[in-house]
Symmetry: C2
Subunit: 339 residues, 2 copies
């Protein structure tokens, strides 16, 4: 185990296959290269190490990394200065919420030198704070939904029939009263039909409400912020464009990344996915460290970094965790007003 650890540590920091001599010299294990060679040979047979070719040093396999992450790795603590920096950047929220999320992604990539991904809170999971309807023309309305921590999401809907400004205002006021404080997920069919009964029963209203809720509920894709994709090129394994292209191509697809991350982070906690463990073929050369962030106690989104399997897992985990923590704090901090 100490040898596996040494090999992994060394490979992570040098990106060169590591040989028995190196281990003996740099990591005083008190044994000679020959012994280490024997052990490494065993580790290879067990599947924890691999050899790029016969006369090269050893490299951890995905299985090796997995063991390293689960058992061997020395956890690192973020320095107090870095921690403070994070909180400062995220908690001073004089800007729109999108800025906070965006900045979170930038911080993550800057602190790890990997590519960073942040999935913005799903509107369906966050409580509604306000709904505004702005007429665009006779039969189009722009619906702006403001959710709890201050996110804004907008949709254009086509009215089944023209509606006056006054009618729209009334509808908006009614809906506001009704939705405020609930998450869209909580707004079930039952709720809706009750609302419809309460409201003026003109069928235009009826259809409009239906449309609105559909649009707001289903149409809300998750926004993904990708930062520092270029960092990947600093990694020797992605110096070759052909190797980097699949990964970058995947990361550019917002929906795919969003569904991957939110699938992974349905529960709180940090996840590490290593190489072949990925379900997506494009990612099988990469590792990913992700953590969920919360508003109050409910998980609403995820942050993560993507790098080579030869990733500095210890640091990545600590940065991702600290960032998820600070982001949760930033989003939860706004005191709820009484409804």
């Amino acid at each position: 185990m100490r040898i596996l650890q040494a090999v992994t540590d060394d490979y992570i920091s040098t990106a060169e296959p590591v040989g028995s001599r190196t281990i003996a010299r740099k990591y005083g294990l008190g044994v000679s290269p020959a012994t280490i060679r024997n052990e490494m040979s065993d580790l290879e047979e067990l599947g924890y190490l691999e050899q790029p070719h016969t006369s090269a040093g050893r490299v951890p396999s995905d299985k090796g990394y997995r063991f390293y992450v689960d058992v061997l790795m020395d956890p690192v603590e973020l320095s107090p200065a870095e921690r403070e920096h994070l909180r400062e950047e995220l908690l001073s929220k004089q800007r729109a919420m999108e800025h906070t999320i965006h900045r979170a992604a930038r911080l993550l990539s800057a602190l790890t030198h990997y590519a960073a991904v942040v999935v913005a809170p799903r509107p369906a999971e966050t409580a509604v704070r306000g709904l505004h309807l702005t007429p665009l023309d006779e039969c189009h309305v722009l619906a702006v939904l403001v959710t709890e921590p201050g996110f804004v999401e907008n949709h254009v809907i086509e009215l089944p029939a023209p509606m006056s400004d006054e009618e729209l205002d009334r509808l908006a006021a009614r809906l506001n009263e009704f939705l405020r404080g609930k998450t869209l997920r909580q707004v079930t069919r039952g709720f809706l039909s009750r609302l419809r009964e309460e409201i003026d029963s003109r069928s235009v209203y009826d259809e409009t409400v239906e449309l609105l809720m559909n649009s707001l509920g289903s149409g809300s894709e998750e926004r993904v912020y990708l930062e520092g994709a270029l960092n990947l090129f600093e990694q020797p394994e992605f110096r070759d464009v052909e190797r980097a292209k699949p990964v970058l191509g995947f990361l550019e697809q917002e929906e795919a990344v969003a569904s991957m991350l939110s699938g992974l982070c349905s529960r709180a906690g940090t996840r590490v996915v290593i190489g072949q463990e990925h379900s997506r073929a494009e990612m099988k050369e990469c590792s990913m460290v992700t953590a969920a962030y919360r508003i109050g106690d409910s998980v609403v989104g995820a942050v993560g970094v993507v790098g080579p399997t030869r990733m500095d897992y210890a640091r990545a985990v600590s940065v991702v965790e600290a960032l998820a923590e600070s982001l949760s704090e930033a989003l939860s901090h706004v005191p709820r007003r009484p409804a």
Copy 2:
């Protein structure tokens, strides 16, 4: 000139330095390779062509490309099918405006196979359609600004003193009446002070309005949508990561790209910037074709593609122009409602 055109055309399509034999064979100019060699030698002396090394073919210089773009290039028309495709994608605007802009960027990159950049309309240049204030907590308000074609922009502002929901509502209603139909640029200091006099003269209001207008006016950065950055890797000149990094790094900086594009496209029309003509060092290996798009008659944003100097200028120009045109149409199409 015919030889320069032939060399440029050929180099654009093959990416290989082109020799006298090739020209003679592929472009029946009715003269022998030797003649072409003499001419090419002259063209090199005049600075229109360059030789990578003594025994290679010729390649257009930036000056050569400039002459090609200004004088020689055969303009291409987009096929009716492509034209129709563009309009269809952009004019069916059942979605939020951001989607239209985003899609414009995607279309641009898909049609040209270069990197595409779209600068979203500056809120300050577009007429206000509505302003909504949503309280976040006792002293923070989320201001949502809806501008003419349906764009939404939001800002968090800190109130100088707590304000009740009712007060906020009244303020919002007043501001709405006042701002609707004007662009933020039109809202001058004079306007503002008149507004302040009209409104309840409590100093809280006063300061709040001041804050709001500042925040909305100055704080509004231009959003840049970048798509297809990966396309650059398909180009032989960017196959090497080291060559591609500066460009990509530059394109990732939203503010820099925004200011470059909006500087370039203050007036309507298409611009081509070739290699060394760029002010930014990172772009001196690239060319860029940009065009402004409008809402009604006023220029509000720009679209562009970035590729190697060996760009298919003819096609790039026609695609960029067609897209800018369709986008203008899409954004202007919403009939204004009487104020």
